[in-house]
Amino acid sequence: MPITILPPKPSHPPPSPHDISDADSELSSDDGGGGAHLDFASLGLPSHQKSTHPPNNPLFTNLVTPGTLITPDHQWMRGHGTYIPPSTTNITSSLAGITTRTNKLISVSPLRARYTPEVGDLVVGRVLEVQAKRWRVDINSIQLASLPLSAINLPGGILRKRTETDELQIRTFFAEGDLVVAEVQQLFQDGGAVLHTRSLKYGKLRNGLFVALSGQGGGSGVVRSRRQVWTMEGQNGGGKMDVILGVNGYVWISKHIEQVAKELEQKHMGITNMEESVSAGVYSSQNDFIDSATMREIARLRNVVTALVENGCRVDEDMVIRGYAEACEMAMLGETGAEDIYLGGQRGEELTRALRN
């Protein structure tokens, strides 16, 4: 059947409370103390606010929309996502999200938001503009990040001052549309980020597929975790695959290339020249040969990531690896075997249900 038409669901199933609290504690751990869900009853709010939603679901009871009165009591302090209209003491929500309370501070964390860059984050970005001395990179934030010419490695690992010649040839490094993996080096006051690619791990991306996940919040999307980049074995005859989960919700899945070992072997280079040899291919936009089994497994892994997001699960190393194993198993049990990589619609729901149990 090439097309499936389903009756509409009553509403999007909310992420399970377990996922929410997980994401919360990780996100707010650096503020010292996790956010506690705000209890409306303790704020003395009129009860009709609660009665519009099923009372047993903690997500719904804390859900506010822009303009919702959270509390008129002035003993509370207002935090992010709230405001106090002039000449009142009413703490009012300015976002659609979930209210959280930390001691006397009330804040609203949005259901879905753009990425807020932080120094040290690993991000995947797409070059949108090329300027005289820098690139402007889309990293799913409210502003474009900038990648200065001085913050990249020159081919061959040469260390020198950037000259006019480099400025003229800026497009040979990165051009419009190119994908880069980079790290946030510095933040401006207004939230704009400056990136750098001064590491062998960073640079232009090739040999793979890109997925953009929607913004953060609501328990789904990429969460900051210990490992954002890893290599995994492909099942069903596929080769090794590299996965880069950008903290900004951009994901890159590609074929793993054993460049270091190969080049070292060919040229009999010492470990000291490693940087020189490795960075040779950093600005290449030519794909290597990829066999169809690896391509299939890359597509399968991409579908796992999209299925996780569509069904409101967080995306991290553990979930992706478990999801991939589960997806392979599901495909083997199916009629067409390993060839079947489709995970949309109901298959995606099945997959996430299996992961939650």
Partner: protein, 376 residues
Amino acid sequence: MASSTNVHLSPAELSYLHTSLSLNPPIRPDGRSPTQYRPLSAETGILPGTNGSARICFADGTEAIVGVKAEVEKTRRRWDDDTIFGENQNQEEGEEQDEGEEQGSSDWVELTVEIPGYRDDDSGTVFLGQMLCEALLADGGFVRRLRINRRFHWKVYLDILLISPPLSYPLPLLSLTTHLALLATRLPKLKSEGDEDPFFDDDWAAAPYLYARNPTTKRVTERPPVTLLVMAVGGNVIFDPSKEELAVADVVLAVSVGDDASSREGRMDVDGRSNNSGRNLKLLSIRTVDPPSRLTPPGVANAANSAYGHAQVVSTGANQKMPEARQTESEAVEGVWKPPRGGAKAVVMGALVQKVLVRGGVADEVLDALEGVDTS
């Protein structure tokens, strides 16, 4: 017309997509089979103020709603049309004349498309509207339904709204939603007779559907057209392409098909059974859609890349003078993206249309699936 104005994909991604879609069988980035549509959820009758409405959502959040409003309008007579003066004499023997008279005019339908972020008069939006309108008006069957009598007709306003930003080329979504909205459209029951001023029954429950149902089977006998988006890449034909897939397409076609009910009825009489699998599809219109792949930047082969390998950044004079010119017309290299050049081959176009129209093929299945949606 470019099906998506700014595709931002890197040459390496484009090359990867092109290679994986050219495999046999193709590997689509979202894992669908070549003929598979994205799963969607549909409902009708969502807008109480309209004569008929429908809403369709994709899983990625793309959502469209269509509302159909109808009003009574006086039929403008053509300058050479003397039936009004002749009608009193001819009324009794007017059978034959009615046959010829039962024609509508294309301005009885007004179709507007709204896409967030684009102006009403944006060429893309206008082109989308024209394609959808063209399919409706192609065989004159739709406007014929709008006729009330010789002096009055229904004027139908079709408002097609895409609610989400266009994540992919929205033509299939808008066409499917329009199809469902028209199926759910009901017009008030006519109480007056002949050519007198129309007078309607105010009981909405008695209102008949614009596309009449078979009273026994409750099935729609004739159906509005649907427009399918088909693309070819390498030797493969792919239905309902996503944005990334369109970005590497060699040819993109929008094919409108209708259900040729009249011939089906005839066949049913002969066969004595109503078979679903073999409906007679009628080709209504074809449009080529300019694939965005032609506007994509070409990739640079490693051999020509001054930033590749141990080459010094300050390179030889010839390279430095015209690096761009050297890149654009290079030979095809494995793994380097090269945008398609030249027009579509007639053989490919023929194969695409054939694939749509084949009995029991995709168009058939799409119409079957749409039939399953509750439009009452």
